[in-house]
Symmetry: C2
Subunit: 249 residues, 2 copies
DNA sequence: CGCGAGATTGATGGTAATCAACGAACGTGG
DNA sequence: CCACGTTCGTTGATTACCATCAATCTCGCG
């Protein structure tokens, strides 16, 4: 895949498109806006922007002050972070998911950067409006608390995954989880590049290659982006899956 | 230190001591209860328990349903987690800190276990009361949101620390941070066992020993629980500290 | 003084990062 | 439509990092 070298500044210029009426109804249906007051929703939408981004666009950069709450409506967004010259993938956000809510709420800087992996439709709401309505609308705040708690538990699970398992084990468990999520027992279809998956799993691309090869003795075989799990029981025996680590929140 | 083999069940038996009047005033002063209504506070306190635990007591166990919100008033509590036969330390909680708020709010099971490292005074509030008042008292909910956001960002930082650094780097940065927190430039006083610190830093005790020895060329020397940082600038040069990873939230 | 838990040191093997080379897939331009 | 070039993925060789097992050391405490 060739990434367009595209600046996110287009999204933060005066050229942003406000949300059109035909989109409003669809947004109102999001679980994210469930139980919030009509006035809250109307104002959030009026202040917000909804637009498409091509793949490879950097949406936010760690260290920047949190100015918008971002919600992924379509496509895949990668959260990543770096320090001391190294870089790693933290999480993937898919519809419908908000990201970096915590920074917005506490009016702090972002701890993570975000870029689109695919063409993606993103809803952006000014941070100030989010904080404003959180204080006014108890229903909205309840939604925020739920989303925060979800993200927090997700992060704890990611930390356990990283500290308690080897690379091959993380891969094996990821395969098991993905196979279930995609509803295709016996198969996993990679919808991201292997290099990106490697970073997500906390390893190098070379190592992912080798880890995948090493799972062959547990019945895992790959042909390009399609990975076959011949013997789910054997793979599980090696992976030792644990809902307190693997289950998505 | 010898840990008492003490069951936490004493805390969950009928023998719990309600909170005495003389303690109420002190609790009211906690930042945790700042801005919440008097009625909320009174009911939380009336339903809660405040008591001392000896060192080594398991307060909660991962996988158990969240029944109490725990707040550390005095002493140190270790959050830890295990999977597939391995175990690691996730975080230390010191006064005044709540732990595992997310599980309480979403009425889910704990992802982490907790045990006292020192004699500790813990405030326990029934989870149901917390959820009840969160919905009633906007001020209380604001406090909860702030605490959740703090924990979330803390977890993200821990994940970055683990994925982006080697063991020796994590140790070096921990020394720099501790030295600042303790207000003793040039020194760090270990108030926990090295084996526990090792788990916290994601390494074995043997490895911590070697990592500490390897920092000697950067001016770090240890005599028992006292660690001297002879040349903070040199150590920082090696550690490459980063507020987006190291700064406590 | 002697015991025991924690800390250290050494030896070894496993796990993972890095550097380098090669092969496969795909898009572009001729 | 093919040739080429770029990017991604794989494989191999080497080194760094880390866990494990075992032995020794230290120190507080009975």
């Amino acid at each position: 895949m060739t990434f367009v070298n595209y600046s996110a500044s287009i999204a933060q210029s005066k050229g942003r498109a406000p949300i059109r009426a035909e989109d409003t109804a669809a947004l109102r249906g999001l679980r994210l806006f469930d139980g919030i007051a009509e006035a809250t929703f109307a104002d959030l939408i009026a202040a917000g922007y909804l637009q498409f981004f091509p793949p490879g666009v950097t949406l936010i950069r760690e260290r920047d002050p949190a100015d918008f709450l971002h919600v992924v409506i379509e496509g895949t967004v990668e959260l990543y972070a770096g320090s001391g010259g190294r870089e790693t993938t933290m999480e993937f956000i898919r519809p419908v998911g908000a990201f970096i809510l915590a920074a917005v709420l506490s009016d702090q800087i972002y701890l993570q950067s975000a870029r689109t992996l695919t063409r993606a439709r993103i809803l952006m709401i000014p941070a100030e409006r989010v904080r404003h309505w959180m204080a006014q609308d108890a229903g909205f705040m309840r939604m925020i608390v739920a989303e925060l708690a979800r993200g927090y538990r997700q992060a704890i699970k990611a930390l356990k995954n990283q500290k308690l398992r080897t690379g091959a084990e993380r891969l094996a468990n990821w395969l098991i989880t993905q196979s279930a999520l995609q509803g295709t027992p016996g198969y996993v279809d990679l919808d991201i590049e292997k290099r990106v998956l490697a970073a997500r799993l906390g390893m190098t691309p070379e190592n992912l290659s080798r880890a995948l090869a090493s799972l062959a003795i547990h019945g895992v075989h790959s042909r390009g982006a399609l990975i076959e799990i011949k013997d789910p029981a054997a793979l599980a025996g090696f992976a030792k899956p644990d809902p307190l680590v693997d289950a998505p929140e």
